[in-house]
Every structure is written in C-alpha cells, then in structure tokens.
C-alpha cells in the first residue's frame, strides 16, 4: 500500500469531522466505521463475502496496522462467519481503532490534533482531495456517478453504500437531490454486501443498548455525564465552563477521566490535580 494511500475507514473518519475540526454527532457512526474496515479488506482481497458471510481470502499485509490486525483475526478464525458478527467484533474495539486511525491520518499529514480537536490540514472542503491520482474531488466524482448512468467502480460503490446505509446522504447531496436520485443511490448502495449488513447490525446494536438501559447498565460516557451533573449541583455551578478541567468536555484531562472510568468501571472516583492521579472514592462505614 502506498504510504499516502487513504483507506476507506480513514475517509469515513474524515467525513465525520466538520471544517471546524469537531466530530459530527452522527448516529451509529462507530458501526459504519467498523463496516468500512471490512469493506477495505474486501477491496484489498484479504477477505471475500457473499450475502451473509465474511470468508478469509489472501493472507497478506496491507501495510496498515488497523487493517492487518483485523485481517489476522479473521484468518486466525479460518472459517466463514456472518458479516454482522464481524462488524460487531470490530465495533467492540472501536475506541482503540479510532485512536489508530487518528494517528495514521496525522502521520499522513491529513489532520493534526490541537487541544483535543482534530483539524483538517486541507480543510477548505468538507471532502478533501485525498488521492493524488484523482483529478477531481471525490465528492464531485460521486455526485457525477449518481447523476449519470455509468457503471460504478468498487471503491465508489463502497463509499455510496456506507453513506446510504448510515443515512449520510446530506454529506454529498441536497435534500432535493437525495430524493430525486433515491433509486440510483439505493441501486448502487446495495451492490456492496457488507453495506447491506449495516442496517441489520445497527438494529442489533440498538436493541442491545436498549436492553442495557433497561437493566440499569450505563456506558462510561453516561456515568461521567451523571457525575458532572452531580458535581455541578453540589458546587452550585451554573455553566459547564466553570467546571475543573478533569470534568470539562474538550480538555485532555476530561479524556483521561473518561479513560479511567472505562478502566475502573465506575464513576465513583476522585482526581488529585497536584499529583495528577485518579483514585476510587473510599467510603467509610455509615457514609452515604
């Protein structure tokens, strides 16, 4: 793989960042990102697919850490498994995968990290020119594809599929265009069999999340959000910018607080700014 080649997961990640460097709040984005990894592996002939299954293909290095790691897992299993099950497996490790994707994009000088905000180095367009060989922007190319009758290339099929099944048409089309070309978009989107699995996978994940909520399970982010609310109430703070850094969104320290909650499994924690350490709250007998 060429050093500056941008993988599909990296393109998807870039799609999720607006021009100010903020990550768009795209529902189920992580599932889409997980799916895009499988799509790239299929394009690289590391895996094959049919209507239901992922089948290991060539065992080879792609030169990309994220892709090679997952490819190795698929080949280690050896036999075919459902597309949905692989999307979910990748999704379960998506936090680490996003870190690796960010590092890769920084290395390729496509983005930089500034105060926990990702800034596009080439940020004049929402869909930057990524591949040196392309004469026109990816965005224009995809629009031309949809507005015309050309037989699509596979990379374009994959991107259209991801955009469609994640309801991201707004990134490429106006509402009117999306409606007018709905049939063409759907026709091309369904040509990627992994893309077709996104919908059913999203349903599974949503059901699992609802079940977790019903049984009182909360994600680390939810625990931190509740802790912040409790802190603001206790200290009678009216605005979030009055919070200390370790509880203030957008800071490096806030990220570290979230990581500690993920690792410890609880938000009953304390932070000592002098030693820059986190610890679990100690409760004495008779305390609340």
């Amino acid at each position: 793989m060429e050093e500056n080649y941008i993988t599909i997961p990296e393109e998807v990640f870039l799609l999720s960042i607006d021009e100010a460097g903020e990550q768009l709040d795209i529902k189920e984005f992580d599932i889409v990102l997980a799916s895009s990894i499988l799509m790239e592996l299929a394009l690289q002939n590391c895996i094959d697919t049919d209507l239901d299954y992922i089948i290991p293909d060539k065992k080879k290095s792609t030169g990309n850490y994220v892709l090679d790691d997952i490819s190795m897992d698929i080949h280690d299993v050896g036999e075919k498994q459902t597309i949905t099950s692989w999307i979910l497996k990748i999704y379960s490790n998506i936090h680490e995968i996003k870190k690796q994707i960010t590092k890769s994009l920084v290395r390729k000088k496509i983005i930089k990290i500034e105060n926990e905000r990702v800034l596009l180095i080439f940020s004049s367009k929402r869909y930057p020119i990524i591949r040196k060989k392309e004469v026109i922007e990816v965005r224009l190319r995809l629009r031309e594809l949809i507005f015309g009758q050309e037989i699509p290339d596979f990379r374009d099929i994959v991107i259209i599929s991801l955009i469609h099944y994640a309801s991201l048409e707004f990134l490429l089309f106006t509402e009117k265009e999306a409606e007018e070309y709905k049939t063409r978009i759907e026709e091309i989107a369904k040509m990627d069999l992994i893309g077709q699995a996104i919908t059913s996978t999203l349903k599974e994940v949503t059901l699992a999340m609802r079940a977790k909520e019903m049984f009182g399970f909360r994600s680390p982010q939810q625990k931190l959000d509740d802790m912040v609310k409790g802190y603001m109430k206790k200290h009678q703070l009216k605005k979030e910018n009055q919070l200390p850094d370790w509880l203030k969104k957008g800071t490096v320290q806030y990220r570290k607080t979230l990581e500690f909650i993920e690792k410890s499994g609880t938000a009953e924690i304390e932070y000592d700014p002098e030693s820059n350490t986190y610890s679990l709250q100690h409760k004495t007998a008779g305390s609340d």
Binding site: D50, L51, I151, K190, M191
Partner: protein, 111 residues
C-alpha cells in the same frame, strides 16, 4: 473451477462450472482480460453449471463489463440458476447485466 471456451460467430462463450469465489476469481479475470487484450469485445458467460458466486466473483464480472462497455463491447450472462438469480437481484447487479435464461437466447441478443 472448470472453465471452457468456444467461439460462436463473434461471441466468445465461456462456460463456468462449480464456484466463482476467492479460490478462482483471478483465473476467470485473467481469461477474460487476456481475450480482451487480443481484441475480443463480445462475451457470453454460460453459468448453467455454476452453483455459487461470491463478491469477488461479482467484482470480476462488473469490472470486465465496465471495460467492455466503454469500448462498445458487452458481456452477457446466461443460464443462472435460482440461487444465482437471487444473488444478482439482492445485490443489485441484475440492473447492470443482461441476463438470459439460456445460452441460445444470450447469443441472439448480440444480433
């Protein structure tokens, strides 16, 4: 995969038997592209004896179709069984390919 080849008028008829998947899609791709490089433009794939196709197989077919159509050629498919027809329908590939019930009808379509 058993691959047969014959020519009928100007049309290259390639018979596929077994599975078109990760194990042999390269063989089929090589055959098609070698013949295209020799100047052949009209192909019919006889899929009567084909019982499985994966996405790598579909990719080879689509890539070949795109190349041929850009040069005023064509690639048609014939003899798909019900399972393969479902695959082409569900994947949407049936929108791009001319598919015929038999080789004879497929050959006639070139006239």
């Amino acid at each position: 995969m058993n691959l047969t080849e014959k020519k009928q008028n100007e049309i290259v008829v390639i018979g596929l038997e077994g599975r078109l998947d990760t194990a042999n899609y390269e063989e089929v791709e090589k055959k098609l592209w070698e013949m295209m490089e020799k100047g052949e433009k009209f192909f019919l794939l006889d899929m009567e004896k084909l019982n499985y196709i994966s996405s790598s197989g579909l990719r080879v077919l689509l890539k070949s179709l795109k190349k041929l159509r850009s040069e005023d050629g064509n690639l048609v498919l014939a003899g798909l069984n019900n399972i393969l027809q479902d695959v082409f329908e569900i994947s949407g590939f049936s929108k791009f390919f001319d598919i015929y019930p038999s080789t004879e009808e497929g050959i006639k379509s070139f006239k």
